[in-house]
């Protein structure tokens, strides 16, 4: 299945902004995160299709997974 992965802030350094990636059916967010050589501890905000998601959430074909380090503003 194809998942669109979006990276933000310093996650983009040496990686990419947005990419379509192929994964086996049914993998969860953590699988994708680890495939990019991140750890769960690196994650600040994880969103699937614009909704906050747990790391063990299974992904579906054409999902959009957005990964942010812990950042903020105001």
């Amino acid at each position: 299945m194809i998942v669109t992965v979006k990276l933000f802030a310093h996650f983009r350094n040496g990686r990419f902004k947005e990419a379509e990636k192929a994964f086996p059916d049914g993998v969860d967010c953590l699988h994708v995160i680890q495939s990019l050589e991140f750890t769960a501890r690196d994650m600040g905000i994880v969103m699937v299709n614009g909704l906050h998601a747990a790391l063990d959430r299974p992904l579906e074909d054409r999902d959009i997974l957005a990964l942010f380090p812990l950042v903020g503003g105001g």
């Binding site: 802030a9 600040g44 957005a66 942010f68 950042v71 903020g72 503003g73 105001g74």
Partner: protein, 576 residues
């Protein structure tokens, strides 16, 4: 004992007063709101002689505590008709504190047409007639005062917008780089203009300085506090690198980035204005990604943004400004937005209120969506020259909506709603509705917990837990705003257990007090109740604690979210 300086413009007299015992434990917002509630008749005209403009440094301002250099300014707001506290960095708070000035109260109104400057020194405050700088904007005022008094003098000034008494007028405050920061919200610059005070200067030569009751205890607590600020990923890493503008992409992704005057929660042009792009641009042009708004700031969320030729263009270039002219007006050229930021600083108008006003103006057809150049022309030639159109826009989003018959006007208590859509980030909607300040994200920043996963997690799209979240944050914020601390200390305070106790220990070590966490919460509650009491006496009711109707009727993409709280649910906020 710190003193109160009082300036009366009606009879052109000044006084130095002992601080009343009941005000001794107050600072910042707690003090400005207490004084306004005590001394300003709630039904008075905000631009008349009975309103008062009150400045107060926080309880920890002037000490070596990190991030403690914030100044509170209070009055009855000409924008909202209610009480206002506006909070700013710059050098003034620390100078007031070192001079032993608990508060500066500016009251009355001159009978003639003359303008005045106020000069604060260790001997008190003097009123001097001002001719040269009347009609000048902020950068010229800063430069002229530097010529008169040197680089060290603190400055609070109004631009021509404040002289015109438009309700988006702010009070500008000199920062350590000689540029400026703003008491932006609520039109306090119009109050200063109504009193015909063009500027206030502060010189702290020979100041008595801060006497700590327990220097060792203070030092130990300060070390713990600073470590917490540096250790937390938001205050220690995220804010210094990307500034507040890192939020563009986060809110876009979450569907909470108000776009095209609040008709969508996502903006196609987000990548051209986002914090990541801005960071690259700043670095490529030799600007500074890190910059503090006051001495002793360890977060450094501000920045210096240069133009294409590498020359200084603006600083203190915040997410809310970039969102407002960017997504909300669909302008995608960050240089146009930075230029607007600089012009707004110079004229002395609030970059949130003005940006929200431009969104309504675009909906009204006054200028095309996304037309950055026409937006700049209107700022320069209409607002800057004080034409009728310029004055309407500089009177805020509500004024534009009323003038042009627009119903989608994002305001609460007539103050423009900032950068987070309350339909898809519901906690901030409770804050917008209930804060006595009018729509103000900083009053109870639920984005931390709704979106950023700081201080736990509360689902932004559900109603559950939002009222409690907003209440707890508004109480905490009212207390933090009273300490002189930057509100961004809330990020570590929400997640790192040692942070808040260390801040309380510093207050105790400064004053020889024995405050507990409960006392600080009680202070925050009292501040909110005092402010609400003023608003009620000024004629507001719970009906003023409501979001505009269109948030109920118009779903916002991508989640098709609507504002679905009942009035009773919103009013339950005040059950404390």
């Amino acid at each position: 004992m710190d003193r109160i300086l009082r300036v009366n413009l009606t009879d052109l007299t000044t006084r130095i007063e002992e601080t009343p015992g009941e005000w001794a434990g107050l600072g910042g917002r707690a003090l400005t709101s207490t004084i306004v509630a005590r001394e300003v008749p709630p039904a008075c005209h905000p631009l008349g002689p009975n309103n008062k403009l009150v400045f107060a440094p926080g309880l920890l301002s002037g000490t070596s505590a990190s991030n403690s250099g914030r100044l509170s300014c209070g009055a009855k707001s000409p924008l909202t008709g209610g009480i206002k506290e506006s909070n700013v960095g710059g050098t003034a708070a620390q100078m007031f504190a070192r001079l032993g000035i608990k508060a500066l109260i500016v009251e009355g109104m001159p009978k003639g047409a003359a303008w005045y400057g106020l000069r604060v020194t260790r001997d008190g405050v003097a009123i001097q007639e001002e001719r040269e700088l009347v009609g000048k904007n902020n950068f010229a005022v800063l430069e002229a005062i530097e010529g008169r008094l040197g680089k060290k003098a603190g400055v609070l000034s109004i631009g021509t917008a404040g002289e015109m008494r438009v309700t988006a007028a702010n009070i500008s405050v000199r920062d350590p780089s000689g540029k400026l920061r703003s008491h932006g919200r609520g039109g306090l610059g119009a109050v200063m203009g109504s009193k015909r005070v063009k500027f206030i200067t502060i010189e702290d030569e020979g100041a008595p300085g801060i006497q700590l009751a327990d220097p060792d205890k203070f030092k130990a607590a300060s070390r713990v506090f600073t470590k917490a600020l540096m250790d937390h990923p938001v205050s220690g890493t995220g804010l210094p690198t990307y500034g507040t503008n890192v939020l563009v992409n986060i809110l876009h992704e979450a569907g909470g980035l108000p776009t095209r005057n609040f008709t969508s929660g996502r903006f196609d042009g987000h990548e051209s204005i986002c914090g990541e792009t801005m960071h690259e641009t700043i670095v490529a042009r030799g600007g500074k990604p890190r910059h503090g708004c006051h001495a002793g700031c360890v977060i450094q969320c501000s920045q210096v943004y240069n133009d294409k030729d590498g020359n200084y263009l603006t600083s203190g270039f915040e997410y809310e400004t970039i969102w407002g002219l960017g997504a909300n007006c669909t302008i995608t050229d960050l240089d146009d937005i930075a230029t607007a930021d600089s012009i707004m600083d110079d004229l002395g108008i609030d970059s949130i209120e003005t940006a929200v006003a431009f969104g309504v103006a675009m909906e009204a057809g006054i200028l095309p969506w996304g037309d950055g150049k026409e937006m700049l022309r209107i700022l320069r030639e209409e607002v800057g020259q004080g034409t009728a159109l310029g004055r309407v826009i500089a009177s805020g989003a509500g004024a534009v909506g009323r003038t042009y018959g627009i119903t989608r006007v994002p305001v609460v208590k007539n103050q423009g709603i900032p950068a987070y859509d309350p339909r898809s980030v519901k906690g901030i909607g409770i804050t917008y509705a209930t804060t006595p300040m009018g729509a103000d994200h900083t009053a109870g920043y639920t984005i931390a917990t709704n979106i950023l996963n700081v201080g736990g997690q509360v689902d932004p799209l559900k109603k559950d837990g939002q009222v409690e979240l907003s209440r707890n944050l508004q109480i905490a914020t009212a207390a933090i705003d009273s300490t002189g601390m930057c509100i961004f200390v809330a990020f570590p305070a929400l997640d790192i257990p040692e942070c808040l106790p260390a801040m309380i220990d510093m207050i105790n070590a400064r004053y020889g007090a024995e405050l507990t966490g409960d006392d600080v919460v009680a202070l925050g509650r009292t501040v909110l109740k005092t402010e609400r009491g003023f608003n009620m006496a000024a004629g507001m009711t719970s009906v003023h604690d409501r979001l505009p109707e269109f948030f109920r009727t118009d779903p916002v993409a991508p989640h098709d979210a609507v504002w679905d709280f009942t009035d009773e649910e919103v009013d339950a906020f005040w059950n404390f």
